[in-house]
Amino acid sequence: MPWYLHLALRQLFPTGRRFPFFTLISTLGVALGVALLIIVMGVMGGFAYEIRHMIVDTEGEVQIVARSPIPDYRALMRKIDSVPGVEAATPYARDAVMLKFGDKAAFPMLRGLDLDSVSRVTQLGEYVRVGSLDDLDDDSIILSAQLAVSIGARVGDTVEVYSPLIINKLAADSVFLPREVRVVGILEIGHQQLDSSTAYGTIRLAQDLYGLGSTVHGLDVRIKPGMNEDDVVARINAVLPDDIRALSWQDSFSEFLWVLNLERNMIFFLLLFIVIVAAFSVTSSLLISVVRKTREIGLLGALGGKPVHVAACFCAQGLFIGVLGSVAGLALGLTALAFRNNVVLWITRVTQHPEVLRRYYQFSELPSHTSGATVALIVALTIVISTLAGLLPAWKAASLKPVEALRSE
């Protein structure tokens, strides 16, 4: 090991002393910054990951959309099924309805499912908490959990469904009677917005309610594992007519994902300042060290040490603090993420508002997803910033003339 790296290590960890105060404080500052970045980016990543999961689980990776209802969707399904990389496709019809149970009303989206093919594309069945998708028929629906709570309906109850066609009927002075359907299941995805505003029925029920005849609004497509979504989307688009387009789930929800990414990047940028502030404290400590060790720096010159190597000695101390702080911060952050739900549970119990998390943050549990790329970015930036923190002290040390440094008091 070059002498300047050896000396840098020894100055941080002197022989016979485990963890000097300067090293401890500097490392702790960097570690806290890294830990906070890991925790916040992990939770933000968790939100994004869960949202992706929910979208793909409930609507597949690719959505086929059209300007007007799609006729002869079975032929289109066969065409899409034959595209390389496509696992399966399922049609849907979706629009807003009014649900009424007793004197309570709600205005969810009712999504009509093709029971023969939906389970090949989505995992909706796994989210049904009471009842089953198999219980659905053309006179029944499944309610999302919060929606059922809001109107007070339970499995076995009969609710009234008013479709958008009521507007047309009213315009024609016709009498419009609501459709009565049984509740045969309760579904909970874990996302507040979806769990409070979605109902599921058969595609025939939806076609009746929306006056679609035998047409559908679109198709959901699942692609084969390991296939590139964009490649498959391009292949599907190649076989579709001009007025029908295939969109990946990222394209379908691009605005939402853009906002999510913007939030994530802004928070990353702001939290990075904690690491920068910690780096200033490293600079300050190293500058004090240069002043304290002026005569030692002179000695190094007298022993034949080159100024650039003296500079490297102090820069390396910033580097080592960055590496150590990153490792400690990573361990701290990942541990905190592992116990995040216990912490959140404790806080919500203390504040006596356990429902707030679900109501305002959409999720019943705090999600977490830490990607290797994010961790690598945090660690790399921290190490670079810490190393840069050693530059000013390094320059000060290197600019000392040995003869003057040795003479200093």
Binding site: P14, T15, E296, A302, G304, G305, K401, V403
Partner: protein, 222 residues
């Protein structure tokens, strides 16, 4: 006579002082042969340390030249191999134990191998500190620290040792022991020695004694 290990020609050095300049050295000439020991005495402020810094290549003369074994390259890269220095204040690195302080000279030279470790231990044994190899400077006495500094100065088998008041911070008895050790180590290593000292008795132990007065070197009396 063979080529001198150290040669200084017409060295002049001055420093700013008020409106003018204070001339510290006014044309110093010096030749040191291989293995020769030379002492330089002079009053405080006479320029002994200034001269030593010029000879070590740590400072540049206003005029004149310094050459080591015929070469005027006195840069840091060559200094590590050619020169060993001993200071009045020892200048040991406090975070390193005695052995690591001795090895630091070899690390800077960039040739740390198992043989170097053996040599460092041998040198510590020769200065009587074999048992204290892993003690930090803070746990050594002044005399012991200076002996570690002697071992460090000899670590790279230099051809020239420059010692600047090496006994200045030691009591008479300990200082005498250090000088004795320094001279014997230089003899056994065939290294030339330039010893800057106030102490006439220590100066008398060297082969040649010089006196620095009024910025010039002359023969000194023991």
């Amino acid at each position: 006579m063979s080529e001198p290990v150290l040669s200084a020609r017409a060295l002049r050095k001055s420093y700013p002082s008020g409106d003018g300049r204070l001339e510290v050295l006014r044309g110093v000439d010096l030749d040191i042969a291989a293995g020769e020991s030379v002492s330089i005495r002079g009053e405080s402020g006479s320029g002994k340390s200034t001269l030593l810094n010029l000879l070590a290549g740590l400072d540049s003369p206003d005029t004149g030249s310094v050459s080591w074994a015929g070469s005027t390259d006195t840069g840091a890269g060559r200094r590590a191999a050619f020169l060993g220095m001993v200071f009045q204040s020892f200048y040991l690195v406090p975070e390193l134990d005695a052995l690591a302080n001795v090895l630091l000279a070899r690390r800077i030279l960039g040739r740390l191998d198992p043989a170097a470790r053996t040599r460092a231990r041998d040198l510590l044994a020769r200065v009587g500190l074999a048992e204290r190899a892993h003690h930090l400077p803070a746990h050594l006495s002044g005399g012991e620290r200076q002996r570690v500094a002697l071992a460090r100065a000899l670590m790279n088998s230099p051809r020239l040792i420059l010692a600047d008041e090496p006994t200045g911070n030691l009591d008479e008895q300990t200082g005498g022991g250090v000088i004795e050790l320094l001279l014997s180590l230089c003899v056994s290593a065939d290294a030339a020695l330039v010893l800057v000292t106030h102490n006439a008795a220590h100066a008398a132990r060297t082969r040649r004694s010089l006196l620095l007065t009024s910025g010039t070197l002359g023969a000194g009396r023991a």
